[in-house]
């Protein structure tokens, strides 16, 4: 069997493409549960903010803490199921992002946080869904009025849950 450099390059190129697609599918499958979790958390948080504004601050603290712990547990369980060592850098990065978000919210004040758009997103799907959530927030900011939190909870949270379900379909479970 003789393989020339051009054929070798083509074969290695095909391998690289399939490896990238597979990693993407695995990542999407892993992210789906976390996206659904935060969609539900987002919906609950905004529903409480709408229905009982005086409880909102305490509710968001609880939701953020529970959501963060649950996300870390999901990531940890998934890495164990795949027999892949848990990379604590991911967990630390996630906590840093949450702390950064809370700090920004505190720095900008309770009413100005509406102007904050999407955070850090990875991959094409996340750019698209992040852009969609930004549009939802901006539309709500402009026209939501008294329904601001209810709109964010149902449309924003619902979009995240649907996004998570879609990711589960396109992702590759193990």
């Amino acid at each position: 069997m003789t393989i020339d450099p051009k054929e070798a390059a083509n074969a290695l190129g095909a391998v690289a493409v399939v490896e990238r697609r597979t990693r993407e599918a695995l990542y999407y499958a892993g992210a789906s549960s976390i996206l659904i979790l935060w969609g539900v958390a987002w919906a609950i948080g905004h529903a409480i903010t709408f229905a009982a504004p005086t409880l909102a601050n305490a509710a968001w603290v609880v939701i953020n803490v529970v959501g963060t712990v649950a996300s870390l547990l999901i990531g940890f369980a998934r890495s164990r199921r795949r027999a892949r060592p848990w990379d604590w850098r991911l967990g630390i990065a996630f906590v840093v992002m949450i702390v950064f978000g809370m700090f920004t919210q505190w720095l900008l004040g309770a009413t100005q946080w509406r102007e904050i758009s999407a955070g850090m997103w990875i991959g094409r799907f996340f750019i698209l869904s992040g852009a969609f959530v930004v549009l939802v927030v901006l539309a709500d900011y402009a026209w939501g009025g008294a329904w601001f939190n209810l709109w964010l909870g149902t449309v924003g949270g619902g979009a995240m849950v649907l996004g998570g379900v879609w990711l589960r379909r396109v992702g590759a479970g193990g």
Binding site: I3, A14, V18, A83, G174
Partner: protein
């Protein structure tokens, strides 16, 4: 220099092994997902998987999830080793090692 692996070098089988090799340990891919990842048809993928299974490079598990049949595939350690050796061989050609 290592020798080429003719069985794995076939383009579809190379893609199948590339996809399965990304998974770690005992992790499996289901047939439908693998088909989408490598861009194969049902019959084509089935035939190549059979060849790889006979060579001991993949393990195929057929089970029922509820009433739905499901086929799950994983790379064996021999398959991973053969794939890695073939990729090393291909890289060697590009680095001037000749074929």
């Amino acid at each position: 220099m290592s020798t080429p692996n003719e069985l794995i070098h076939q383009s579809m089988r190379l893609k199948i092994m590339a996809a399965l090799n990304v998974l770690s340990g005992e992790a499996q891919l289901d047939f439908t997902r693998l088909k989408a990842l490598v861009g194969a048809t049902d019959g084509n993928l089935g035939a190549h998987l059979e060849t790889l299974e006979k060579a001991g490079y993949v393990a195929i598990e057929k089970l029922f999830v509820g009433k739905k049949p499901q086929t799950r595939i994983k790379a064996t350690s021999a398959g991973r080793r053969a794939f890695a050796e073939h990729v090393t061989y291909l890289r060697g050609i590009l680095n001037g090692g000749g074929s």
